[in-house]
Symmetry: C2
Subunit: 648 residues, 2 copies
């Protein structure tokens, strides 16, 4: 039984559980003892100096532990992770314990100075930085090797002794948040700051982007509606729409950078210093000396990794791309067959049949994306990248290329090989709508329903009819530990990325796409919010300063869409008719316009500053102050020296 509190908690009477640690059933007693000792041990002895309590349920002890920390410990941890908080003078500064009095809302007895998500992030950081000293292996598990400096938690996770670590929900806060977020039907902004306080910056930034993107699509949707209502078919109108679309998409991506800077400045992550990146948990290799850190750690030859990437992953991706194209050709055969069938026996049923191939294809695309996703994850993990960031980049690249081709190849084929604008419009609509419906279903509603069913059975078993709010801590932990794990914002961004492709790549053919995108995104906000609050375990907060590689992905898509739209416009019979004498002039004009648009895009991206002026000023002020402080130090040193020289 662990009851040896560490010294820092003397002032604290109540233990607030923040993080849950679940160990495997049947974990050896000596392992548990060693692990808990390391967690509660003093910093000076290489421990994490946290508080830890086993969870006692009706069935006795179940290898589930609750971790918390004293207020002081959390403040010191906030300094260690480099948290940036708001000062009393409204400027943002890196928190240090010694300057704690200058921060807004700081009081020695104000335990809400750090948000719960921040506290949980700090505990996660401290746990992950709990490192082996002279242990050669995990006590009780001789096959689980350790070396000095290896993160203990990561080794426990990879060897299966540690099942999971997750932060606890705060039922009360969650109820407040979900009420203001999706509880009532209202027109208005999401409570981004509250989302950030509860779920952390990465998730809040995703919802911020989703909201921003939805608002940004509204002008396109509004302009797109009359095309449907009045059945406009004049090509000059479509050209106008496409041109607006292209410039608009550049503007919104540039303005997003500014919005993002405003949000992350307010949240403090814009100023947060990057932490030194440790090897990712799955990385393995033979022990060697890391030339950067000078520490002994697993090393894996970069050449071997390159070989794996170029000799296995690359051919595999190419094969998948080929397979995707092959499926596409089958779809076209089906399409032809449906058309023939419709011609032969014309009926209501046959005209409905016309849509069937597209729908089947859309479903197949989603399934292929899903399967490929697993394959890509397996391959990228097998490539054995040392850093999480490098792993993520390779995974995202693999997935983006495949998904792009898988989703858009048929549309490109219809547009630029078959030249069938009618079919393009029909396919685009079917693909977009089907994929949106499938996504909403697979992503939120299905897990929600499964979760509901599980919860009901769970409660029945526990023979209680209490509402969620009245659950005991043990019941809450038991319920939450069975919830699914939220795997990050990757899939959500990917969905938006593909949607952006549907909206912008062929915007001059189907202006209504933006309308569907807006409608989807409004429900997406609600279903994603539901997913975060009710379906998944609470995720750990992750500080982030921007949406990272997705900004680049969206910008690339908007460059590609300039090319596709220009070609589409050039191919239209109406524009064709403007150049009756010479097709050459038409093509040359289209090429010229395309280059002009691209040039304008790049100039706009260059001219619009990435950060608003007031944020720039604030950053300049901070930089100035830190340089001044440095100068003061040098000056003080010079004075000291002067004093020494004069007096000796």
């Amino acid at each position: 039984m662990v009851e040896s509190w560490s010294f820092l908690d003397t002032a604290e009477s109540n233990f607030r559980p923040l993080v849950v640690i679940e160990l495997a059933k049947g974990t050896k007693e000596e392992t548990i003892e060693w692990f808990t000792k390391r967690i509660v041990d003093k910093k000076a002895n290489g421990g994490a100096q946290l508080l830890m309590k086993p969870l006692v349920t009706e069935n006795g002890v179940e290898n589930i532990y609750l971790v918390g920390a004293s207020h002081l410990r959390l403040l010191l941890g906030a300094e260690a992770v480099g948290l940036v908080k708001e000062c009393s003078d409204n400027s943002m500064r890196t928190f240090t314990y010694s300057s704690r009095k200058t921060f807004k809302h700081y009081a020695d007895d104000n335990h809400d100075f750090l948000t719960m998500a921040e506290c949980q992030y700090i505990i996660k950081h401290e746990l992950e930085n709990l490192r082996a000293k002279d242990e050669k292996m995990i006590p009780g598990y001789p096959q689980a090797k350790l070396y000095p400096g290896k993160s203990i938690v990561r080794r426990l996770l990879t060897s299966g002794i540690l099942v999971q670590i997750f932060p606890l929900h705060d039922r009360e806060e969650l109820k407040k948040l979900s009420h203001s977020w999706y509880g009532r039907v209202k027109i208005g902004y999401q409570p981004l700051d509250d989302i950030r306080c509860y779920f952390g910056e990465t998730i809040a930034l995703y919802f911020g982007f989703l909201e921003y993107f939805t608002f940004a699509l509204i002008p396109m949707a509004v302009i797109g509606i009359p095309y449907y209502v009045f059945a406009w078919e004049d090509y000059d109108k479509y050209v106008m729409f496409a041109t607006f679309n292209l410039l608009w998409s550049t503007v919104i991506l540039e303005v997003w950078k500014r919005m993002c800077a405003i949000l992350t400045y307010r949240w403090g992550t814009l100023l947060m210093k990057r932490q030194f990146e440790e090897p990712r948990p799955g990385f393995h290799g033979v022990l060697g000396i890391n030339p950067v850190t000078g520490r002994e750690e697993p090393m894996y030859s970069s050449i071997k990794r390159q070989l794996r990437i170029y000799l296995v992953s690359l051919p595999f991706v190419c094969l998948c791309l080929y397979f995707s194209l092959y499926v596409m050709m089958i779809y076209f055969d089906l399409e032809q067959w449906a058309l023939d069938y419709h011609k032969e026996n014309e009926s209501n049923f046959s005209s409905l049949m016309l849509y069937v191939p597209s729908i089947i294809y859309a479903v197949v695309i989603e399934i292929m994306n899903l399967i490929y996703r697993y394959a890509a994850e397996f391959l990228t993990s097998w490539e054995n990248h040392r850093l999480e960031s490098s792993y993520q980049n390779h995974l995202i690249l693999k997935v983006l290329v495949f998904n792009f081709l898988n989703c858009f190849a048929s549309l490109f084929y219809i547009a630029f090989v078959m030249f069938d604008m009618k079919l393009l419009r029909q396919s685009l609509a079917t693909l977009l709508i089907t994929s949106q419906i499938l996504n909403q279903f697979a992503e939120s509603l299905l897990p929600y329903w499964l979760q509901k069913r599980y919860n009901r059975r769970m409660k029945k078993r526990m023979c209680s009819t209490k509402s969620d709010m009245d659950l005991s801590l043990a019941e809450q932990v038991n319920m939450e530990k069975e919830m699914g794990t939220y795997l990050g914002t990757f899939d959500d961004y990917l969905e938006l990325f593909l949607q952006f492709g549907y909206v912008s790549l062929f915007s001059c053919v189907y202006p209504l796409a933006a309308v569907f995108a807006v409608l989807n995104n409004i429900t997406e906000i609600y279903s994603d919010a539901l997913k975060m609050c009710r379906v998944y375990k609470r995720p750990f907060a992750e500080p982030t300063a921007n949406i990272g590689v997705w900004q680049l992905a969206f910008e690339t898509m908007s460059v590609i869409s300039v090319v596709t739209n220009c070609i589409l416009i050039g191919m239209s019979p109406e524009v064709d008719a403007l150049f009756p004498d010479s097709k050459m002039n038409l093509v040359l004009t289209v090429a010229l316009v395309e280059h002009l648009l691209l040039a304008i895009k790049f100039i706009m991206a260059f001219v619009i500053p990435d950060k608003p002026r007031d944020i720039q000023m604030k950053l300049a002020k901070l930089e100035f102050e830190s340089l001044e402080a440095l100068k003061q130090q040098v000056r003080a040193f010079e004075m000291q020296l002067h004093f020494l020289l004069v007096h000796h």
Copy 2:
């Protein structure tokens, strides 16, 4: 007479003059007294704590002062400017006085630890940071207002009391350097490290780039020669050349970034922290509170500046561009006239006459560039930019746009409006060669000759026949102060930029351009070296980590050249003949190839890392160490706290 040495020099017996200050003739005695007092005064009293001596010549005191500093003062200054030097363990670290013993070649009596250029840079930095305390004006000159924090030297310069500040040449070092640099004809690299030690990083980097660029052009030149020798006229060969050229130019620009990182890492400037930027000397406005620094300083409304830029500068630049096009049309009239003349009376003289319009036009272009340069400088200075960097960016943008159009408009016109490849080749050759000859002459030989003549007269007047080496300090100073001032690397880079345009924009028409560029650059290295060593005053060293905006300018040029070359190839009759049926297919193929090439360029730029792996590792190591140091601090603080809590 200033003889009051400051305290730090007690250990130094000999005064080494580093920097010369020339005051205007007839400067009031009280001003001189105040200024010298501020320079030699102790740091604690707000002085610069430097050494200063008036220069005594045969004609008595001439308001010329020599500035030096004690060894210790220079070391402290090196810390203040954030100099990065090599440590004994071969890593690069920011120099601090307290860690001085860990640096390579450091010894208390080694006065060569800092190079002379570094010492001069430190003195310049200290002089520029000599700030007004409570003076309201410069003593003796009530119209030259001062406010607390204003740089005294800058105010003295703008009010004409201070004529110039320049660093002294080191005759002996210079002789050694010029011998190893251009003194003997040899094949080999320039002594870049010596150049850097003598002239500083900005100039050494320019010569590094010039050398790199010349080497990079050699493959193009080598491939280009057979086209001339064998009079190849097959278009497929030209296509091959152009394709090679386009990919090659991307590669060389990317590889330069890596080379640049290697050089500036070795020189320490890659790691040097950016200093906070002060307002530029010419900036004026009404006194206000700067929101960033909180200091009282001149403020100028950003809206007024924008109005000046958009309502005056922009129209003026457009007018100049129009004028340049107008001159171009006159050139084409002349060209036509010469052609007619040649047809009417065919003779040797008339065929020579064919080249005259191009030569005249080339000369006119150079003159227009020169005049426009002055106008652009005047306008940009009138726009009243607060920061030197913003001033430079606006100036460079203005000059680049005009020079690009002025130099290349006629070639674009000939290529894409007149479709006259023969004339294009002839014009290109004439423009390139004439501009190179003019540049070499105007830039180095003319000033050199003027300087020589001046020196001869000077020596005659001084009635001495001594060689340069034997000149007394007074004679040296008197001679150097009359030398021209080197105005920075702008013109040199601009010349290379235009040359790169001539070589790459129309490379598939005139492969020989690269040969001329290589030949020009080899002589350019010599003439620029001569210019630096013999014609101009020694410039102050300027630390820099890269070639800045020029990298972007060269990359933009290489993107434009993809477009021009693709069009040129598409227009050629040989490629035309490959598509006998349909011009459409030709144009579409060309557009496709162009987009592919552009995509390859961007992917290559993205894939090739900007810094070589070993530099990345070294930087990662430094980052790791500083983070570790920070962690140690936090840990030490936690221990201290622990101690306090336990013992109280």
